[in-house]
């Protein structure tokens, strides 16, 4: 896939800056949660709230941004497909692969733009407060970034490759059900899993927090995202119709 950087930049700007729906979602997310996060951070700095509380809220917000922004962009793409402007995108001088890559990058950038101000406020607060939570906060930032990459790859690949909104909603519902499957099956294997986890959970937790563990998990997420993107790009480039 040979990417044209000028075209990529134009696609990213189109979605992140020019499209009102996407731009409003990013600004709305920051505008609504920003002041709340600022107040929480000040309360933590002045010792009125425990640092762990801010850390938990910041983590939740970061993950929410990682998952919500790609969904916003998927909605924008489906809207463009429905109103017909996606046809104009395909008729412009850019390869299908560039359109695919630009859209995914726009999703990642939209997530970063939504989560970064809030994350920065909380991180500065936790650093000023001091303690181990600040280190964990930096780690969570990297994880949120990786999650944003993974969720963008997955959501936007589906949004770009599937033309029918109904088919898309079935697919998303199917994957959500698949995600909930372990929870549903848990009671059936409760004892077995509990004994298995109890012996290994602590080890796993410390491994994930170690440098090797972080590199390992990051590599897995990046490889998985890259695989999704590669497959998605191939499917998108070979589509018979972009309408």
């Amino acid at each position: 896939m040979i990417l044209n950087w000028e075209a990529l930049k134009a696609i990213i700007k189109q979605y992140v800056l020019y499209d009102h729906q996407c731009r409003r979602s990013i600004l709305g997310f920051v505008a609504v949660l920003g002041p709340a996060m600022l107040v929480l951070t000040l309360l933590v700095i002045f010792g009125k709230l425990p640092a762990l509380f801010l850390f938990t809220i910041s983590t939740a917000v970061s993950f929410a941004a990682s998952f919500a922004m790609p969904i916003v962009l998927a909605v924008v793409i489906q809207r463009e497909k429905a109103e017909g402007s996606f046809r104009a995108l395909r008729a412009l001088p850019l390869k299908a692969g560039t359109l695919f890559g630009g859209t995914v990058l726009a999703g990642v950038i939209a997530s970063i733009l939504a989560l970064l101000p809030l994350y920065m406020i909380a991180t500065i607060g936790l650093i000023l407060r001091g303690g181990d939570v600040a280190l964990l906060q930096i780690y969570i930032g990297v994880v949120a970034l990786l999650m944003s990459f993974l969720s963008t790859s997955f959501t936007l690949t589906l949004a770009l490759c599937v033309n029918s909104p109904t088919a898309l909603s079935y697919l998303i519902a199917g994957f959500l059900a698949l995600g909930m499957l372990p929870g549903i099956l848990m009671p059936l294997f409760k004892q077995k899993i509990r004994s298995l986890l109890e012996s290994r959970l602590e080890k796993l937790f410390y491994f994930v927090l170690s440098l090797e563990g972080q590199i390992f998990v990051s590599a897995i997420v990046i490889i998985l995202s890259a695989l999704i993107l590669y497959t998605g790009s191939r499917i998108f480039s070979r589509k018979k119709a972009y309408v």
Partner: protein, 309 residues
């Protein structure tokens, strides 16, 4: 087929469950080809196939002698387009749409774009969704012409526009043709647009081109002849597009697609009295071509395209 053709289409095929398109034609530099046909004839499918929105199932297409599969970006940088069914990015401001388009075309001419915007009195600060249909069409035309393309593909550019806006559109295309002479592929079911602009006309019906001819030749060779005769003349129905005989008042009306002056002598000799000849406009020609090809003759006893070359 010409080596210098801007666009060559050979046996382009697209098959759907209930419809299939199969067309061949070419477009020379600076030429305007009007593709006309009823709704569902395949005009938009043809445009979508040419612009890569839909992948064809077969055939060969060359733009400027280049294969679009291998030179997609280079070709599209030299092509302008207007898609009737694609209202440009409704959630963007008109000015942002122009900036967005400009970033894809190295030859984008802002002074030309500004000139067109002023001529059209287009409010670029408004969102596309806030513009009227006419204004959206004008914006689409600015995006189609501002990079001085060598080929412009226009899909139903005046559909839904009032007569004033339609005149502005025709004027704009004429100015562009004078200014930098692009070849234009224009699809429409509004015959007046095609009659005003096209050098050649292709009649597309049920996915096939039933007739492709220069507009001048069409207008010269199609005639309606009206005369009087009590008895039905012995005419070969294959030589006439339409024969209508009103036996009550003896009026005979004939339509031909291969008019020449000797035809009148033949008809007089056959017994037609006081024959008058009337030229047909493109709309009338279109109605005869579509009726004939579709096999839905409204003119008894016979309609046939036998005389058309």
């Amino acid at each position: 087929m010409s080596d210098a053709a801007v666009l060559e289409v050979e046996g382009l095929e697209k098959r759907y469950k209930s419809f299939s398109l199969r067309v061949s034609f070419h477009l020379s530099p600076g030429e305007v080809l009007g593709v006309v046909g009823p709704n569902g004839a395949g005009k938009t499918t043809l445009i979508h196939c040419l612009l890569g929105i839909v992948k064809p199932d077969g055939g060969r297409v060359r733009f400027f002698g280049l294969d679009p599969d291998r030179h997609e970006v280079a070709i599209k940088q030299r092509v302008g387009f207007f898609l009737e069914d694609a209202p440009l990015f409704r959630q963007m401001r008109a000015s942002d749409v122009l900036r967005f388009f400009a970033s894809f075309y190295p030859r984008w001419d802002w002074s030309l774009a500004e000139r067109m915007l002023q001529q059209f009195e287009l409010e670029v600060t408004k969102k596309v969704s806030e513009l009227s249909k006419g204004m959206r069409a004008k914006l689409g035309l600015v995006t189609a012409f501002s990079h001085r393309p060598e080929l412009v593909i226009l899909d139903e550019p005046t559909a839904g526009l009032d007569p004033g806006m339609r005149r502005e559109f025709v004027q704009l295309v004429r100015t562009m043709l004078r200014d930098f002479g692009p070849a234009i592929l224009l699809t429409s079911h509004i015959m007046a647009d095609v009659e005003d602009l096209a050098d050649r006309v292709a009649f597309l019906q049920e996915g096939e081109i039933s007739l492709i001819e220069s507009k001048t030749r069409l207008l010269q060779s199609w005639r309606r002849i009206r005369g009087e005769c009590r008895d039905l003349l012995r005419l070969d129905p294959r030589e006439w597009v339409a024969i209508e005989h009103d036996q009550a008042n003896g009026e005979l009306q004939l339509v031909t697609g291969s008019w020449n002056v000797t035809l009148m002598d033949q008809l007089r000799e056959a017994g037609l009295k006081d024959p008058d000849v009337f030229p047909l406009n493109l709309e009338e020609i279109y109605s005869y071509v579509t009726r004939t090809h579709g096999g839905k003759s409204a003119t008894a006893p016979t309609t046939h395209l036998g005389g058309v070359s």
